[in-house]
Symmetry: C3
Subunit: 366 residues, 3 copies
């Protein structure tokens, strides 16, 4: 079981310098076809109380120009505390319960990339630690149905989730002597007419260390304490999902503070951040074909801690697109985006780029 | 399903400086046992119209001294346009339809390495893009039979194939704003006496960028346009395969032009290239044992674009050997080669090495 | 089939500078949760005479800060010479038959790490080559039973084993023109009362090359011959295992010589080495729960050839701990260790650290 996404981003492109590394490294000048994700899942209940989930990505880069090495995304183990699996301890590397869009599999997302505002919380959405999830059986079934029915749910990250984890994001060693904490509440309500609505709130807090390999010579980390113990890194977010039956709506917003490059002092400081997105979509069926047009707007003003020197970002982006599923194993997405992105980093103190492009993605589910 | 090849190349060696990096990094001084390939295939028809093929290699190096990391070779998805799958669109990273020997799986090749002349077209034979293949059902069956019967066919890359792809070879990002194009025609004829003969022609064209990580300080790229847009890279090849029933013959030749190091100006220039190989083999059965002696001669004069500074090569090599299959899951190959190889690169402006050696390979099919 | 180990090492820690890189890179300052191993085995008899075993590790690092890439541990192929598989040729990368603890799977070991004395023989316990194993059928069954019954045996590496291999340890290219040789004898005796006892002896010999990427500028390799052909690297070891029925005992000791950093001359020299460990353990059952308390002492005085500049080590360590298996798919180990470790390397000519800590490991078997 798995999926793969192959993209071509260069149609109707007005500005080849308009990029977003966390979104998709193949945006802009010099790029062509790109395997954004290729994943195979090894999972199953190996005991009535133990569920295993291992998901490597076959399109990861260890650095340099070499692509398509295999690296872990998920490697987690759910220990059920009760027979109905309402209470679970999750050990390993897994998604941090922060943000509906982060929880939702990329194979289910309509827009090609997650929003900068929510996704900047955790590169690759994951970290290594211990989580506790609780959901009543009937809600577990509802989470399941929201995914299997094609409504593009998040999967089951509990009605209540809380956990501790390293805090340096996935596939990185921890770098200080304290852990991050995250907590989340989400509930998929079913209205009398069958409509599903899922509100959620979540927050996390910890200290993030900007490690030497992420720091340019000439950039200061402020105090020695911040260099060693890390920068305050905390956020709170609200989510609302109205599932597309057939008209849907989805919005998230988060505020917080975290490490961010300061162009005036050439140092990294703890700065406020905020941003979010709103999306509407409409799910149509034509025979066996499913077509889902969507529109999304997003905004983010803050740092991306995992980028070199904790790059400062200001993002305005609007997308309109459609996903077409002629068969359940194949999806084609066209996504037209208009963006205005400003980054500030040591390499470029003020880099504002705006433009538009049409992006295509073929997704194969197997 | 998969296969692995483990080699030892140091027997009767007359010149430890005689090497060929694209062929086998474990040739020559300081080497011992080497895992040349270790591959597991995940494939299947996940829908009547969708075939998935994912083949990682477990013996890839991300650079430096670390071996045996896992990297993609193939990750492609065949969308059948008709129920008989005569018309297929292939999306993803896959072999470029250029050269019978390139198409043929290494698990089926008799000689340990592909010829320099044809294989220098694409490192690892693959790239990322979109291909179209057509073959009538009966010819699809014939391609299948030519492999399954032990005649060492290429598999089904269509009677007609055409595609566009990045052009920087597999597991590399594209580097310019245009795609390569390849086209191929091949037809496995069956004579009245049952003998199979497969002639083929193929060609490709594009611009190949010598990226900064492939360029030594001190080597010039000629014009700034060539540095950015790339060097002309195009070839045409003819192939002829007479399948070993029991006597076989196989030959390919290609001509073209591409980037090549010029030792006089210490720059990379577009230069003509040409070369090919011819092989004869004889398939014998002794009870359940199969024995296939073979002889191969090859010649190449041209650059290898994927090597640092597009190394200039002049290759004369003769091989005699035999493959022994005591059981279908195990093959042992002995390959005695006599070679005269001259390379010209910035690191060594004139490096001519000749010598001979006996190489052994154990191949396990599973 | 496979297993994963997730650790947290920072409880009751008295000295965050007390580290051991070969043991566990997540020991000490700045670390948190860590995936020590995550392995999936692809194995099976693909022919009555051919057994395939491919085991990648999903928690390997290609260097730098990137974790959790996938790299081979085992890729070996057993060719049975007889129908009963008493005589086997093993080709590929596999464990070198040297030391019971090295042969025993980490999934079966009680202490979190192998002893420095035995494990310093081969980083990751493996190398690439050709082995011959012999064991009578009844002893093959006994090896099998010693593992499957939960007695934590080594698996079947023969009563007699002998092999040749590159000698630069697993996932590294060979670096000189000669191979290492290893030989081992081990026999699991069954006493009249059913008690199993397994004595063993083993030895290996070869030349190990300290390659340029493992050498600091300023460190001398002695003669040019040693730089090219390598340093003498040979050991002999005795092993004794009394399986826990319910009280067990296990001890190994080895002596030899190998490359080791010399702080007085800032060079690498062939120096004597010796060391070993002794462990006692008690296997208890409470209903379906299994609890195995253990105590282990170890000592090592010698070099670690695979570490930069062949770091000189002097190690005294005592561990007391317990493994708890509430279900067969889940094990929790608590390991309290008190250690006194002195390393001498070019980076730190005299680095003595002592202290204690409590380590936790969750192991998932699937």
């Amino acid at each position: 079981r798995g999926y793969a996404q192959i993209r071509y981003n260069r149609l109707l492109e007005t500005n080849p310098q308009l990029k977003c590394d966390q979104c998709d490294r193949s945006l802009g000048a010099g790029n062509g076809f790109f395997i954004r994700r290729a994943r195979i899942v090894f999972s199953g209940n190996v005991h009535e109380r133990l569920y295993v989930y291992i998901q490597p990505d076959f399109a990861s880069s260890p650095g340099g120009s070499a692509l398509n090495f295999v690296q872990l995304r998920d490697a987690y183990f759910d220990l059920a505390l009760d027979a109905a699996k309402e209470f679970r301890i999750r050990v390993g590397q897994s998604k941090i319960p922060y943000g509906f869009e982060n929880m939702q599999s990329s194979s289910n997302r309509l827009a090609l990339d997650r929003s900068d505002a929510i996704n900047s919380a955790f590169a690759n959405e994951r970290d290594l630690g211990v989580m506790f999830y609780w959901a009543p059986s009937e809600i577990r079934e509802r989470f399941e149905e929201l995914t299997s029915s094609g409504l593009k749910g998040s999967g089951d990250y509990g009605v209540f989730g809380v956990g501790v984890f390293n805090g340096q994001t996935s596939n990185k060693s921890d770098a200080n002597d304290q852990l991050h904490t995250a907590v989340r509440l989400a509930y998929p309500l079913q209205l009398a007419n069958g409509q599903y609505i899922e509100p959620g709130i979540q927050a996390y807090s910890g200290k993030y260390v900007v490690t030497p390999d992420q720091l340019s010579t000439g950039v200061s980390l402020g105090s020695e304490q911040q260099a060693k113990e890390g920068f305050t890194d905390r956020r709170v977010a609200a989510s609302l999902v109205v599932y597309p039956q057939p008209l849907g709506f989805q919005a998230e917003y988060n505020i917080g503070e975290g490490p961010e490059f300061d162009p005036e002092t050439l140092s990294i400081k703890v700065k406020p951040l905020h941003g979010g997105y709103a999306q509407t979509m409409y799910r149509m069926k034509f025979g066996n074909h499913i077509l889902i047009p969507f529109a999304k707007v997003q905004y983010y003003d803050g740092g991306k801690k995992h980028e070199r020197d904790a790059v400062s970002h200001k993002v305005y982006e609007t997308e309109v697109g459609a996903e077409w599923q002629p068969i359940k194993n194949f999806e084609l997405v066209a996504d037209y985006s208009i963006a205005d992105r400003t980054t500030r980093s040591f390499a470029n103190l003020y880099n504002r780029q705006h433009g538009s492009r049409l992006r295509l993605q073929a997704q194969f589910n197997f």
